[in-house]
Amino acid sequence: MLIWFLRRLGQIIPTLLILSVLIFGLQQLMPGDPALILAGEERGDPQVLAQIRAELFLDRSLPEQYLHWIGRAVQGDFGFSWRIREPVAKLILEKLPVTFQLATMAFLIALVIGIPAGVLSAVRRDRPVDWLVNGFALFGISTPNFWLGIMMILLFSVQLGWLPPSGYVPLTEDPVQSLATTIMPAFVLGSGIAGVLMRHTRAAMLGALGQDYVRTARAKGLGERAVVGKHALRNALIPVVTLGTIEFGRLLAGAVLTEQIFTIPGFGKLIVDAVFNRDYPVVQGVVMATALIFVSLSLIADILYMAVNPRLRTA
């Protein structure tokens, strides 16, 4: 187990290092001189420009610049936002809980819808219920998040006036308001994932229902409920758990547009605002942080896979 874990880490670290090179390389695509952007009004003053370049290591060679950047990044220091002059890491840590709340709610919604729907459609395979559930899954996967968001605002905020169209209240401040401001975006985010989870659950359940142990369970006279719930579902959930963990990471990407539409001050809004303010250190920091979260999640997925599948533990 420990050896496996270390080997897995041995794969992750080079992946992240290569990614850091790529993200650093993005800077070279950028049109214009960052020092000019940073200097703002004082861009005519060569002394100011030289000072900025020295501060940001822009006057050094590329490898030196990279080593400087990565050296700080591994210590959790992604530099300063050019725009608001605050540490990028601090900005990310401030925004992360907001997106985390949104993602968790979305994930719960996806689980509550996706798994039962997948089980139902597998059990009632090729019947109307199966078609209906498949139809909804396809609908969830094909609807662009941001359009669904706009349509929900149109219905629930503009027409019915039930929910606020935008804004965010922290959970600690006013839990009810917090839920009211996040339920629509969470549903928007969750609906796509629900479709994916449903498809995985259905496929896994169909696989499990065809196995010998299910036939054995039926043969020994167990009721259908016990066969499906205890024998088939438990085994079917193994791949679903790991895929679900990875889907959780994808919620971060979905949050970008959803937060934009509902003006929720989270991680996604941070990267969009940074893009528009040409605040490149923030963009780089957010991409790096997302990768870190994503890679950690897939590690967790692997560990979960080991935990729920005893056959792999001895290997």
Binding site: Q11, P14, T15, L16, I18, L19, L22, I23, L26, Q27, L29, M30, P31, L138, F139, I141, S142, T143, P144, F146, W147, I150, M151, I153, L154, V158, P165, G249, R250, L252, A253, G254, V256, L257, Q260, I261, I271, V272, A274, V275, F276, Y280, V283, Q284, V286, V287, T290, A291, F294, V295, S298
Partner: protein, 284 residues
């Protein structure tokens, strides 16, 4: 089974039997035609503003209504199909052109070349698609071409991984082994012996990738990183529609519906192709 059938015809027959996939194909064809024929079938100039027809609801004169500058929404949706279809098809084609040769090279060459390529693909896949595309588009600057390039580069590791996996599998097969023993160079092995065998899975993946690329283009345009106004694109139309939700909800309905339909159609086609091209599946 009667007379021996070519695999292509068998797959075609299976695809045509898949009703939803055929529906997807029809919708895709309609949108491709709309994009190609936009200048001839459009009821109006998509850029023509009119101060007397600002935010008019759908009517006989303007089927989809007019926008905040009095432009015909139907015309803009039709012309918007150009940006979306181009983004979907061109960026996925570029992604294929980048990804497949690199993946084949990795799979056939093995050794450190493979290790480096596989790690780079892993690294790119460890950032969610849209976030990487946004970051790339941000550094390249806002323009439709840059958005397409960003989407192409972001989508390419999927094809690298797919082609590499298939090449690794094929490397151990007898026919590739034999071809290698005859002294064929690796590029010839890849081109002649491996590539034709991986076309079916690539086709499926490419169809699904087009759906994803269209959503990505709409997302980037929505954020202002794709097609620049006043040129129409579904994403940027949705962005400006958001400001007039109370007064002019139709502005948000039609472009979104167009994105939804196209994406759904490509997803249906992809699913149908997967079923049709799977050599094991004669059922369903």
């Amino acid at each position: 089974m009667t007379a021996p059938d070519s695999p292509f015809r068998r797959a075609l027959r299976r695809f045509l039997r898949h009703r939803l996939a055929v529906f997807g194909l029809v919708v895709v064809v309609v949108f491709v035609l709309a994009a190609l024929l936009a200048p001839w079938i459009s009821p109006a100039d998509p850029l023509q503003t009119s101060w007397t027809a600002i935010r008019k609801p759908p009517s006989a004169a303007h089927w989809f209504g007019t926008d905040e500058n009095g432009r015909d929404v139907l015309a803009r949706v039709l012309y918007g199909a150009r940006a979306s279809m181009a983004a979907g098809v061109i960026s996925v084609s570029v992604a294929l052109l980048i990804g497949v040769p690199i993946g084949l090279l990795a799979g056939l060459a093995g050794g450190w070349v493979d290790a480096v390529i596989a790690r780079i693909a892993d690294a790119m896949l460890s950032v969610p698609f849209l976030i990487l595309a946004i970051a790339l588009a941000a550094f390249l600057g806002p323009a439709l071409e840059n958005a397409m390039l960003a989407i192409a580069v972001t989508a390419s590791p999927i094809f690298v991984r797919l082609a590499r996996g298939m090449a690794l599998d094929a490397r151990t097969t007898d026919w590739v082994e034999a071809a290698r023993a005859l002294g064929n160079p690796p590029w010839r092995l890849g081109l002649v012996h491996v590539l034709p065998n991986i076309v079916p899975p690539l086709l499926v993946q490419a169809t699904l990738a087009i759906a994803e690329a269209i959503i990505a283009e709409a997302s980037l345009s929505f954020l202002g990183l794709g097609q620049q106004p006043p040129a129409p694109s579904w994403g940027s139309m949705l962005n400006s529609a958001q400001r007039f939700l109370t007064q002019a909800p139709w502005l948000a309905v039609f472009p979104g519906l167009a994105i939804f339909l196209v994406v759904l159609a490509f997803n249906l086609m992809g699913d149908g192709l997967r079923d049709a091209l799977d050599p094991r599946g004669e059922r369903r």
